[in-house]
Symmetry: C2
Subunit: 242 residues, 2 copies
């Protein structure tokens, strides 16, 4: 960051808005939303932004809004040219002295796309990250499921991994959380079955949002899981205690 | 939970109060703190409670307060008899129709001691968990360090593990976060050195609090790390991108 950027430019805030319920946003993120003149958020190529929907009750009228629309191709690298374009647009606002709040579902650095903007902006601008409640904490809370105790390892695993990678990771001791279940549900369930873990696993979808679903994985039949769903496998000592 | 408990008893709230800065509490936790007549929080055998210090600006005067003082013996199982006693004390308030807010540093189910009360109370009372910003998100934000991207595995590792367990876990691909560094700093650093990961590792202490420290691990000399400190090792693809 140059001295000039520090003294005159606006701040880019990476704002964690939490997992879904609007009142699971932090006081800090709420305060920043009241004052930032520019609001940006990830959005699908067409349709509404989940991050904006979560924060909607807290966004004052009359803000400049930037929908960061990127092609979502599962398993592929994010569109670098697209992020270059949006970063430049945000940089123009910062250079003009306007703060920009970038809304991030959950926590900005917990599998968030904010990192692609952070990488492009942090060298030349003031960029601050406001951590948020992650989907992991929200799913465990929704399920009423302590995941691990003091000396347990936690492994967080993206659901789109290959069968072999999933099996290797799920076989390690400790607690496991499989994120982004979506269309990979059957594959993940088959691996958990093979490892004898399916009985202990809990499925959570839309945690803290309207339409929240919490089920033992074993009770889940022929369901289409949305992208924002998770499978939790508590550590054995916790499962035994409970 | 019995029908009677549901209709007449108070609610026990496991309230995540976030990682340290008082404004990183959620709107929901803040609202519950305004109304709960009884506030409980973990505390050391003597001295002040960190969870209470974090929430202090939000606690109205005149509340009944319960300091849950448990012996902290690193690596050992929590004192079951002690938790039985405090759970009974909380249950009395619930039975009398009084809500009890149990303050939890960070997120209640992310290595939190709330699970020991949850296990004792959830069967007979209404117990609700309000997820909070975890130390993990706070440390990554404080360090300005994206940890992982879309297909990376994250492994969260308690620092007190043995040399061999630490090495096995830190050697797996993906991002790593070593929690509860404290007096285990030298041991953890030696393992990271052996694995060639020390150069990429970042040390964070008291994230989002007064006296926050963020350093490359390599620059850390002869320091006494506090219990609430963390070492972050980003996934290689993220480290390369940044």
């Amino acid at each position: 960051m140059t001295a000039q950027a520090e003294s005159q430019g606006g701040t880019c805030w990476g704002l964690g808005v939490g997992p879904g319920a609007p009142d699971l946003i932090t006081l800090r993120a709420h305060r920043i939303l009241q004052s930032a003149p520019v609001i940006a958020y990830p959005a699908p190529e067409t349709g509404d932004s989940l991050a904006r929907a979560i924060a909607a009750p807290h966004i004052p009228a009359g803000r400049v809004e930037i929908a960061i629309r990127t092609p979502m191709v599962p398993g592929h690298h994010p569109a670098h040219a697209t992020y270059d374009t949006y970063a430049a647009q945000i940089a123009d606002h910062l250079a003009a002295g306007r703060d920009v709040a970038v809304l991030c579902e959950g926590d900005p650095f917990f599998y968030g796309s904010f990192m692609y903007l952070f990488e492009r902006l942090a060298a030349g601008h003031r960029v601050e990250v406001v951590p948020g409640v992650s989907s992991l904490g929200a799913c465990a809370a929704a399920a009423g499921l302590p995941l691990l105790s003091r000396m347990d390892v936690l492994t967080v695993i993206p659901g789109p991994l290959s069968d072999a990678d999933l099996e290797r990771r799920l076989a390690t001791p400790g607690a496991k959380a499989v994120m982004k279940v979506g269309r990979h549900l059957d594959k993940i369930r088959a691996v958990l079955d093979r490892l004898g873990l399916a009985e202990r696993a809990r499925y959570v979808e839309r945690a803290t949002m309207d339409g929240q679903v919490v089920r033992p994985l074993a009770d889940l039949d022929g369901r289409d899981a949305p992208y924002f769903s998770m499978i939790l496998v508590p550590a054995p000592d916790v499962a035994d205690d409970a």
